[in-house]
Amino acid sequence: MISGILYDLLFDYTLRTVAVGAAALGAVSGALGSFAVLRRQSLLGDAISHAALPGIALAFLLTGSRATLVLVLGAALAGWVGTLVVMAVVRWSRIPEDAALGIVLSVFFGAGLVILTFVQRDPSAAQAGLDTFLFGQAATLLERDVAVILGLGAVAVAATVLFWKEFKILSFDPQFGRSMGIPMLRVDMILTTALVIAIVIGLQTVGVVLMSAMVVAPAAAARQWTDRLGTMVFLAAFFGAVAGTVGALVSATAVRVPTGPTIVLVVSALVLGSLLFAPERGLVAAWRREVRNRSRLRTEAVLLDLHALAGQHEDGSHPHEIGALEAMGHHPGGAEETLRHLRKRGYVSERDPGHWVLTEAGRERAGRILRDRGGVP
């Protein structure tokens, strides 16, 4: 199947168009989504994409055109209005931002569904395919759609490159930016517009319901791998492109499912992998650090206790019973396994069964640990 897809990708013109479009929209939404995630505005992406639906339906209703650019502009306008409503509600009422986002999302989406249903009662051929905006259908991507994606996507990316430092200070410390005289509201408008663009160019392929995943997921995955903003944005764009391409191709060829869900499955896998396996922030790395730490503390406790026991004896090489060691109470779960581990490293030896003593190397090691902890050797 995979080789089939690769073959088609090289020689099937339609499929190549789909792949290019999906990669571009994934990259743009991944890049702009990074800022949304860092500003803790992940929900905003969801609100914008849902708010875009009535814009698409109205644009069709008013113009009677199904041209991509018309629908996308309608979507962008509605998405923008939705964002402004959120801002206004937060500013002028006591409703908190998450509630405002939820309200706008559902009200706009509901209105969109109503208009869409109304439009579809008219059985003219033109409206066919409007409902693909719900869950997305990559197979419907034509060359002119991809041209719109590339053109508008380039605008959003250009804004990011141009206003890089402004976006950065807006995301990190907007009050400080304002104190220096940078018009943060204007910067916010530019960034939000770029985000709206990034979202609406993906709606035909991914659908309004799941588009927010393309805003949040690639950025969340990218954050796991790096501590630099530039790398994060670049990586998020890459993840978005991969998810878009793979998801769109799978949906467009082998399986006849909407594209949104397949893209989201792919991007979820990327997120899961990043959460688990990223070198510093990954769960596996954290777990391994924890295990290493715990085993280090356990072996140090045994070494120090043996050291202390030896100090109580005139003959420092006198072996001690394991029971005496465990009676000191520092070894939950017993000391035997740790002792065997230490023997392998040459720090202790077992004289008689169950009787242990520090070796020369063990005494040195214990002395070093004591010094490191600020004690006297």
Partner: protein
């Protein structure tokens, strides 16, 4: 750092900051009430007062970050908006997300963003200045460190360095000593003293009353209203402090901001 503009054309030293009749309210609650305050150039001034006295709000109102209900602020005799480049700001450390993906040097260079203007990126000159500032706060070794790996005291010094690269005449700092270690406290005091010796004006929101006479030469005592302001020796009296902290006067209601 240069000494800039503290004197008016007529030779009379003009106030670095002049706050006139400033009133700020959140919803119906006054946070600052009819504040008059003069900060002479070249002083090291502490703003003290109980929680909710409006200290942070005063700083933010001077910076134009909160809109006053009444009153105005002059910086060297002119409105703040015209004098922005003369004022540097050190916000509270807790006001940002320290898990943001960026480095110490990068944060410090942000202090130059205002001077750079739209679109232009920081370059070699900004880098040099940032490294100099990091040297002043004794953080040179951490220039490339991810900011989430800093201690509280180091975070505070990064913010201080970011204000230093603004190369201003007036430094407004919101609790620079909040939750820092002894080493950082010494480093900050040293920087403040150097700023003062260079002719700069420094205004700090400050919590630890016992260090006020030691660190500062000027003070304002605040509790929604201005209780007193002037040389530390004159205003930092038990009577004034009791007025601000002790038995609350009936017409005072504390706001929500610290």
């Amino acid at each position: 750092m240069r000494d800039r503009g503290p004197n008016g054309g007529d030779g009379e030293p003009r106030a670095a900051i002049e706050v006139n009749d400033l009133t700020v309210a959140y919803r119906d609650q006054p946070v600052l009430w009819d504040i008059d305050l003069t900060v002479p150039p070249g002083v090291l001034m502490a703003i003290v007062g109980p929680n909710g006295a409006g200290k942070t709000t005063l700083i933010k109102a001077i910076l134009g970050l909160v809109k006053p209900a009444a009153g105005h602020v002059l910086v060297f005799g002119r409105p703040y908006l015209e004098q922005r480049s003369l004022v540097a700001y050190v916000p509270q450390r807790g006001s940002v997300d320290w898990d943001f993906p960026t480095s110490v040097l990068d944060v410090v260079m942000m202090g130059r963003y205002g001077a750079l203007g739209w679109i232009r990126r920081p370059g070699r000159e900004e880098r040099e200045r940032a490294l100099n500032a990091l040297d002043m706060v004794d953080l040179t070794d951490l220039a490339d460190r991810q900011i989430s790996q800093l201690s509280g005291g180091q975070q505070q010094r990064v913010f201080l360095a970011r204000a230093l690269v603004q190369d201003a005449s007036i430094y407004l700092m919101d609790e620079p000593f909040q939750g820092v270690d002894a080493k950082t406290e010494r480093a900050i005091v040293e920087v403040l003293t150097r700023l003062k010796d260079g002719g700069h004006t420094v205004v700090c929101v400050h919590h630890a009353l016992q260090t006020v006479p030691e660190y500062f030469d000027w003070a304002a005592i605040l509790n929604v209203r201005r209780i007193a302001s002037g040389p530390v020796g004159e205003v930092f009296t038990e009577d004034n402090l009791r007025l601000a902290y002790g038995g609350r006067l009936p017409f005072l209601r504390s706001g929500t901001e610290g």
